[in-house]
């Protein structure tokens, strides 16, 4: 059994009545400590001197010395379990080999990782592990990337001594839901999955039952693993016990081409590796990046890829009557030019709408084209996107996640306003949880009550709660005032809310007043959490309408990946062009559809919520006649007599550099200076003065985490997840499943 620092979900067993009144949650978190910075120590590994920080595990010291130590249970991002014994090394003056992952490095120690004793120890451990492990590698999905397979080749004995007829341990498979496939006979009880579920994902239902040879991993009761990070256990499992259900038996790792890319399912910009075979994406894996996603990705990032195969637009389509007819590119582009002329749209009547999955290059091209056509009507595909956002876009720090993603872990008090990071940025949420578990972090929430995987003080649901907080009316507000590194996370839905302006106004003033803690050279505690991959870049390049333009009724509408548009907002007589990769909502509204490339098919720039520009790369070619999006716009510009001045992507990026150099400074962050940030807040406060409060409660913008964009809506796997986790059909332990509002507080 693992002893974990844990905070439990309230088991909402309505039947267990009359229990002792529960004490406040704060009393439940126990190991609160801030780690002190420690001195370095020096030791010798395989005759090489290494210096590591005090308190590192011996395995880390060995790693630092360049000696690989085989392991199964140890993982740098999880608690240490020390139960597989594969990491045995020889230490001077120790009578037995020691488990290097569970042993702190000692100054002056002499360690050998390659001695006969160690070899023998590893061989022995390997033999024990294999004693109960089925020899089913040919039919195991982990084959080719299995730690057990690799390490038994490298460190195991060359023959078996296992001739017992009593048989191997047999464990029944568990049903963890539509994402994780189990084959529990293969489990070697490293408990990585259990530690991940409990520490990182906040699924405290996964554990070990039984003991000794009968120990097994599971939930004891019938339950699925309801977490938006569950797919990561597939990567963590060193054997084939937990494998990916959608990917089961689809490919072997050695057939796959790996392409490093960036995820676009949310605005975190998780680093991913797209594994493809031929023209199809076979799976998506995380790529470690400590500054962004550590080593995790959300289930939508990982499993929505099958949506790339369905509902695709592969040829240009022109609407004739009430049906679409496929056309050649020439005809389609000419039809658009004709449509533009016929619609008689002039100036601001030409509207461009940038959707969730529009890449930066295409947005820049579209903006340039629309501007060249004399219009300023640049709209975002969101509620209220036809007007400029309340926070304006002149100062970056007003709409970016200034505290940075790793910075969240430094905060000692976090206020969430109108956001549920668990669904809007699942990986960020795990960071908050990590910090909440290991430090004295306090979290407060204004907005709809949600299950966040950590405890929070609930402060209210509307703009009034924000006002109360600013006025210091609650216990939490006082704590927040006295915090050293306070952090306010404002959800992107606040901008879309009727009271958005009032909330921004109140918060901007509050931050200004408390700038000694909130805005310092080291810390900027005002962070806006965007949830849409294209949004930060759109703000960055000023893809927003002028005031005059926002009041104009459009006659020609160009939807670039815009699939959330309200059909009613589109005038009946307007000529509509949809450019995108899926036949989703946007395409239905269109008069001409132009097939674009999805994020795995183009090498484009994405800016995440921190303002970090990252380069996605094309893993597979776009299907059929579809083209890279900026090229389509470039081609169109010729036909509408407003040719764009770039012919290749490099000159387009030069143009991006002109607009904002941060758009092309890849993988770095440029923090806003204190002066600029404060000036930004001042303009923000001034721009939102006199805002009225309607008092409508904030609602979470994402009600179904698994289906938020055309790709995930086309994905069969995500549909299964929706059924299993959102609607709760077929799966789940009816009695104990928690109510949606069962918050931790």
């Amino acid at each position: 059994m693992l002893r974990l620092v844990s905070a439990s979900k309230p088991a909402s067993a309505a039947l267990l009545i009359k229990v002792a009144p529960s004490t406040s949650l704060a009393g439940r978190r126990t190991f609160a400590s801030t780690s002190a910075r420690q001195a370095d120590i020096t030791l010798t590994v395989d005759g090489k001197e290494v210096t590591v920080p005090q308190g590192s595990a011996l395995i880390q010291a060995c790693e630092a010395a360049g000696s690989t130590v085989p392991r199964f249970c140890y993982h740098d991002r999880l608690a240490i379990a020390g139960n597989c014994r594969m990491c045995l090394v020889e230490v001077e003056r120790s009578p037995k080999p020691v488990a290097s992952c569970a042993m702190p490095a000692m100054p002056g120690a002499k360690v050998w990782t390659n001695s006969p004793l160690v070899h023998e120890a590893r061989e022995g451990v390997m033999e024990f592990l294999l004693a109960n492990h089925p020899l089913d590698c040919p039919i195991c999905d982990q084959g080719g990337e299995c730690d057990l397979q690799d390490q038994s080749m490298r460190y195991g004995a060359d023959r078996t001594r296992f001739h017992e007829i009593t048989g191997k341990r047999a464990v029944e498979d568990k049903d963890l839901g539509p994402l994780v496939k189990t084959s529990m006979n293969r489990c070697i009880q490293c408990t990585r999955c259990v530690r991940f579920a409990n520490e990182v994902a906040g699924v405290e239902e996964l554990g070990t039952t039984g003991r000794g040879n009968d120990m097994q991993i599971g939930m004891y009761v019938e339950k699925t693993m309801n977490s938006e990070l569950s797919g990561n256990v597939v990567d963590l499992c060193p054997v084939g016990a937990l494998t990916s259900k959608p990917y089961a038996f689809h490919a072997r790792p050695w057939e796959l081409k790996h392409t490093d890319s960036v995820d676009v399912m949310d605005a975190v910009g998780s680093n991913i590796r797209v594994d493809s075979r031929g023209v199809s994406v076979m799976r998506v894996q995380p790529r470690p990046n400590d500054d962004v996603n550590e080593e995790w990705i959300s289930d939508k990032t990982r499993y929505a890829y099958d949506g790339l195969r369905f509902q695709r637009l592969t040829v240009p389509l022109i609407k004739q009557g009430d049906r679409f007819v496929s056309a050649s590119w020439e005809d389609a582009l000419a039809a658009i030019a004709d449509g533009l002329r016929a619609s008689g749209a002039q100036g601001d009547e030409i509207q461009a709408v940038a959707g969730h999955l529009a890449d930066t290059e295409s947005m820049v091209a579209l903006k340039d084209l629309i501007n060249r056509l004399g219009s300023d009507n640049l709209t975002l595909d969101s509620v209220g996107g036809h007007a400029a956002p309340v926070h304006a876009v002149d100062v970056r720090s007003n709409y970016l996640f200034n505290a940075t993603l790793p910075g969240v872990e430094q905060a000692d008090c976090i206020l969430l306003v109108g956001t549920n990071p668990r669904h809007e940025a699942a990986v960020l949420n795990s960071r908050i949880r990590k910090s909440w578990m290991h430090t004295t972090l306090e979290v407060g929430l204004i907005g709809e009550r949600v299950d966040t995987t950590y405890g929070y003080d609930y402060l209210g649901a509307d703009a009034k709660a924000v006002a109360d907080f600013v006025a210091g009316k609650s216990e939490f507000a006082k704590k927040f005032k006295s915090a050293k590194k306070p952090l306010i996370i404002v959800g992107s839905a606040v901008t879309e809310h009727a009271d958005g302006a009032a909330v921004y106004n109140a918060l901007a003033k509050y931050v200004e007043q408390n700038k000694s803690q909130l805005v310092t050279p080291e810390w900027n505690g005002f962070a806006v959490l965007q949830r849409v991959a294209s949004r930060p870049a759109a703000y960055e390049m000023g893809f927003v309408p002028s005031r005059k333009a926002s009041q104009t009724k459009p006659k020609f509408i160009y939807l670039l990946n815009a699939d959330e548009a309200d059909p009613k907002s589109i005038p009946r007589d307007a000529f509509v062009v949809y450019q995108g990769h899926h036949g989703d909502l946007g395409a239905q509204l269109a008069d001409v559809c132009l097939p674009g490339a999805a994020y795995t098919e183009k090498g484009m720039t994405w800016v995440n919520t921190e303002g970090r520009a990252q380069m996605g790369r094309a893993a597979v070619p776009p299907p059929g006649a579809s083209r890279e999006d900026w090229k389509i716009i470039r081609a169109l510009s010729e036909l509408v007599d407003a040719p764009l001045p770039y012919d290749d992507v490099l000159s387009l990026r030069d143009r991006m550099w002109e607009i904002s150099p941060t758009l092309v400074r890849y993988d770095t962050l440029e923090s806003t200076s204190v002066e600029a940030a404060l000036a930004g807040l001042k303009t923000l406060a001034a721009g939102t003065a006199n805002a009225k409060v309607s008092g409508a409660p904030f609602v979470k913008p994402i009600s179904n985490f698994y289906q938020t964009d055309p790709i995930s809506r086309a994905s069969v796997t995500m549909a299964h997840c929706t059924r299993a986790f959102v609607k709760g059909e077929n799966y789940g332990f009816s009695e104990l499943s928690s109510k949606p509002e069962a918050a931790y507080a």
Binding site: M1, L2, L4, S6, S8, K9, A11, A13, L15, L16, I17, K18, V19, A20, S22, T23, G27, R28, R29, T30, I165, T166, G167, K168, R169, A170, E172, K174, E204, E205, L206, G207, T208, T209, G210, R211, N213, D214, M215, Q216, G218, M219, Y220, V221, E222, E735, L736
Partner: protein, 245 residues
Amino acid sequence: MLAARLPKRVPRLPPPVRRIHSSPCRRSDALFVHRDTTYNNPKIPFEFTSENMKRAQEIISHYPPQYKKAAVIPLLDLGQRQNKGWTSISVMNYVAKLLEMPPMRVYEVATFYTMFNREPIGENFVQICTTTPCMLRGAYDIVDTVCNHFGGIKPGDTTKDGKFTVIEVECQGACSNAPMMAVNDDFYEDLTAETTKKVLEAFAKGQKPKPGPQSGRHTSENSAGLTALASKPYGPGEFCTPEFQ
């Protein structure tokens, strides 16, 4: 026509089937997952009686409030006692709720310790030790005696009338009085076939025989009488100078 030329159908032996080779599985004697049954499902209510609740609060008060969950074992035991000697899923859920810990953490404890019975047991719980010292002193005879006494049941079974459940257990720490068995909370030691039967008969009648060695000896003293330290031990201060006496 052609058919005539076909060889006559002779009954053939089925071709030797080549099975996919598999090693037999080794099963465990208990199930380490929960299955809903009519007698064990989370819908069956359970809660401590007011008396047990008081005790539970007492137990919880032994631990610092943030380590309340340390009380999980004693509380599960309390629940097991109240629930006719077995820990149902409702007991576990209730304890989890009471200690504000995720239910899984309680399931882990309850499945780890074999003393928590996760299936119903009879009125009297007979646990016969068969670990080495007891075994050397004839524990298996005792097992046979008990099983035959109950009409040939096997260890792990409950008698038809639901009065007794018999299991084999590991060392109970009474090796000096081997062989032994525990019935409910009491140890019956120095057993022979006869005394075993006597004990069980008494229980069947609803009586409770005197626990301890059934051979008449006092605790684990030498059954042949004391051979050393036979004299009376001297009391405190006996040989001291008068002022200390």
